[in-house]
Symmetry: C2
Subunit: 96 residues, 2 copies
């Protein structure tokens, strides 16, 4: 099972993840993606959903038209693990 | 442009929409859909996204694994309109 990252490991990982940050009041990381329109936003979600399903690690996310707010955390580990960092990197790559 | 429904028209419409209700503190209607797993939940979202795009009327929604929380409102009208009722019916039909 993926282990929760130490505070130092999390800081380092976030250094390599543009626009991701710790979510206040949660043991989680988050990012708000803003696209051109719903077509682009849901296109991103669809690609990310396929990647997440393949990793068997899923996001919490909220979509309002062209905006997608993502929160990542590993429930079983009670915090942020390497799985979340991997999914965050994948999402950044998909958003381009 | 779609006009905001009267309180009476909204009550009647909700009577024909299983499990949808007014959202507390918002001029909106909402429903939480619970599926078997992420595959089913995102499958529902994908079908609903295509329907929404075709209607040019989009939901606010939040997905966590097998759960999809939907909130519908018509921003331009400042409340719930016939567009929201139509999208809610479509979502119920898709969820089956």
């Amino acid at each position: 099972m993926a282990e929760r990252l130490s505070a130092e490991a999390l800081r380092q990982a976030l250094g390599g993840l543009p626009d991701w940050s710790e979510v206040q009041g949660r043991d989680a990381i988050g990012k708000t993606f803003i696209f051109k329109d719903f077509n682009e936003a849901f296109g991103f979600m669809t690609r990310a959903a396929l990647a997440a399903e393949k990793m068997d690690h899923h996001p919490e996310w909220r979509n309002v038209y062209k905006t997608v707010e993502v929160v990542l955390s590993t429930h079983d580990a009670g915090g942020v693990t390497a799985l979340d960092i991997a999914l965050a990197k994948m999402m950044n790559a998909i958003a381009g």
